[in-house]
Amino acid sequence: MTAVLEAPSESRVSSQVALWRLLLRDWVATGAALVLAFVALVAAFGPMFVGDEAAQQNLLDANAEPFRLSDGWLNVLGTDALGRSVLARLIVASRTTLSVAVPAVLLSLVIGSLIGMWAGYHRGRRETVVMRIADIILSFPSLLMAVVVLYIFSPSSANLILVLAITRIPIYLRTARAESAELQSRLFVDAARTFGTRSSAIIFRHVLPIVLPTLLTVATLDFCFVMLSESSLSFLGIGIQPPSVSWGLMVAQGRTYLQTAWWLSFFPGLAIVVTTVSATILASWARLATDPAQRWRLTLPRGRRGRRAIRRAAEKALTPEVQ
């Protein structure tokens, strides 16, 4: 009955166009996408323009207040305890932050979900083993792991990513396992199985598309968790080593100044929050937009008044045609 909503005749190109149009209709999601694009651009090109400024210390102009243009536009967000421009540091930090947080989240997402889906699909002993391993990682003090890495290896981005990824794997593993265990008993999986499809193919073709939206939602929320964990590791010395800088490190270092120079940790914190919230908004939008059964929600005019207005307009437009 609702076949029309699934628009089976639409070609791939036009469905992409429709997706864009759908996005543009939703101003909140559009805004989120713009923010993310902006962050990505800043991370990619920003350091080229302000790289030197971010390292330029000026102890005599330390902790200058934000929102004053008298010291030039670079200091518009104030300066830090060493008189460096907070704005320039935010820009430089965006690259470090993304280059640690994104790989860490992706790594844990990919490993966790693959193992989780595999375990959930096969159930039985494999599932038990995998779940118990997740239990082990979860009940293991992640800080100890960090200290071990710090002690045996040297703190580097790669090690940082590794530590962060390992501690987050169980989250995806458990989520993926739960959903895939539920799915493996469904009819369409049975059907695929009776055709003799290999289990890996079933997992990728039938289980993954259904589990992925949930996993992506978890991942976007985890994004901020990872950014903040990275900052807490810097207290131990395993985090980003200065003079490199990340948002997490800025938040961590600025924390002691919350009362006297709030801008030191407020702006990087805001950057983390805004980025995460944008990612989450876009993820939940994408989740609706790519799910044929839920997509219609996005087309729903908001509020009763809006709906009535649209209906009236539509009636006017349609009336002559019908009669």
Partner: protein
């Protein structure tokens, strides 16, 4: 120096957030919440809970600050301001032979468990702390592997004999806190029995420690009947507790913690410095070490990051320690000279491009991270390849104390040295001798002059020590001294107390009293 938080913004936010709490029916908090102490009680908030109050561990800062001169007392006590020794449980002492000191003990003192304090108790305590297998902190800290021969001649006379003549034995013994003979000799105890003005009344591990005034104290009643210690790791919370009236004294604050007008800054004995691992190229070239000294802008650091609470340093001990050189020469800031020196070394084939690690301990002192970043930036400008590495305490200590890890490559280590003992010998043995536990390098001549100076007494000793500092700066250059540091505590207006340089190790409750 300490800008108080602007009161407007929080109030505005509070007005919004507050509504929720009014609904939940919260009542107005008062100071009783935290300490539970009634009127007349003194409330002190420390950065961490004392791990133990075992008397022979009193050289641990977090133990000593509660224990020393409050619960237990030593034979002699060092005056932090003058450096002179003052009588405590011993009324007099003299060197009766080259290797023996004789102490006359105070009469009529009893421990809080009723046992009398006499020469037997003193001998028991010293044997327990120094000669036993307990592995006491004090033993390692002040006596090394020296065993003492202790004898109770009569009830009030004690002789202590050392294998080698020791001109500063009484000073060393000022670290040994006297405990009752009923104390276990086979294991450490958590709560000691002492002779001090206070005794432990209640220790709720993790929450609070309460002391009550010792009713039979030999030295008169202290200003407060009871004292409550609590601990909070966050400096701003400690400061807030005092400004909020939940505590009377808060220690170990940073300038930005927000204690406002209640903040009291005081000189402690700590001096910060970079130790240069001078056996590793390119740091084995003296020009590189000199260059490092030239680029540390001590004056600006002190003026800005340390908020004028420190003074630029040219030696490892501050004023007030025997051996301090009052004509302290501080390296000038001269980046051009530094670049030139590095360039010269490079021209002579010194591998100045080798990566040098700049190692620091997280939380070693307020604004350590900022300080390290400033220094790294300056060193890089001088043409050195310097990488910062922050470490946790245990890891950093492996780099600080011999035996050093192997194959480390060159590194600069941020150290902070506090000479609690009051005599430069403690510093020199550790930090200056070629094989000193915390020294990376030195010269034979320097070792010899240190050994010679340590044999001397009185003014000769002082004069000999004084000469060592300029010599180190000129000929050895193992260190880039940075600053003599200060500490901040918050003190409520109702308490009268003046901290001194020893307060961080030994906070004497008897010196505190209510403002009348």
């Amino acid at each position: 120096m300490l800008s108080p938080p602007s009161p407007r913004k929080p109030l505005l936010i509070a007005a919004v957030l507050g509504a929720a709490l009014i609904v939940s029916g919260c009542t107005v908090a008062n100071s009783e919440y935290v300490t539970g102490g009634g009127a007349g009680g003194l409330r002190i908030v420390l950065p961490e809970e004392p791990p133990t109050l075992e008397a022979c561990q009193s050289s641990l800062t977090s133990t000593g600050v509660v224990l020393r001169s409050n619960i237990t007392e030593p034979l002699v006590e060092r005056d932090a301001d003058t450096g002179e020794l003052a009588p405590k449980l011993a009324t007099a002492w003299e060197q009766t032979s080259d290797d023996t000191w004789t102490f006359t003990l105070r009469k009529g003192v009893t421990f809080t468990d009723g046992t009398p304090f006499d020469a037997d108790a003193a001998a028991f305590t010293i044997d327990r702390a120094v000669n036993s297998d307990l592995g006491c902190e004090v033993e390692g800290y002040v006596f090394g592997d020296t065993d003492l021969d202790v004898k109770a001649v009569d009830a009030t006379t004690l002789t202590v004999t050392t294998p080698e003549p020791d001109p500063i034995l009484p000073l060393r013994l000022s670290f040994v806190e006297m405990v009752s003979t009923k104390t276990s000799t086979t294991e450490k105890v958590r709560v000691p029995i002492g002779t001090g003005p206070y005794e432990v009344a209640d220790w709720q591990s993790g929450q609070r420690l309460s002391l009550e005034a010792n009713p039979n104290y030999w030295g008169g009643r202290p200003g407060y009947q009871s004292v409550n210690y609590v601990w909070r790791a966050e400096g701003s919370v400690r400061a807030a507790m005092v400004t909020n009236g939940e505590a009377d004294i808060a220690t170990s604050l940073a300038p930005e913690d927000g204690a406002g007008e209640l903040a009291v800054a005081y000189r402690n004995n700590e001096t910060t410095a970079l130790r240069i691992q001078a056996d590793q190229p390119p740091l084995d070239d003296i020009r590189v070490r000199q260059a490092i000294n030239y680029v540390v802008d001590r004056n600006t650091l002190v003026k800005t990051l340390f908020e004028n609470l420190a003074t630029p340093a040219g030696e490892l001990i501050p004023e007030g320690i025997v051996g301090y050189n009052p004509d302290e020469k501080v390296w000038p800031y001269d980046p051009a000279k530094a670049r030139e020196l590095v360039a010269q070394a490079k021209a002579d084939g010194v591998p100045v491009d080798t990566q040098i690690r700049l190692i620091a301990r997280t939380g070693q002192f307020p604004r350590i991270a900022e300080t390290i970043e400033v220094i790294q930036s300056e060193l890089a400008k001088a043409g050195l390849n310097v990488k910062i590495q922050m470490m946790d305490t245990n890891t950093q200590l492996t780099y600080q104390i011999r035996p050093f890890p192997e194959d480390t490559g060159p590194y600069l280590l941020m150290i902070m040295h506090g000479n609690q003992a009051g005599d430069a010998a403690f510093t020199l043995d550790q930090y200056m001798l070629r094989e000193g536990y915390q020294s990376s390098w030195g010269t034979e001549e320097f070792d010899a002059s240190i050994r010679d100076a340590e044999e001397l007494k009185g003014d000769e000793r002082q004069a000999a020590f004084e000469k060592l500092w300029p010599y180190e700066q000129e000929k050895v250059v193992q260190y880039a001294y940075i600053a003599h540091m200060s500490a901040i505590l918050a003190r409520s207006a109702s308490v009268s107390y003046q901290p001194d340089s020893a307060t961080g190790d030994e906070m004497r409750l008897a010196e505190m009293s209510p403002v009348s």
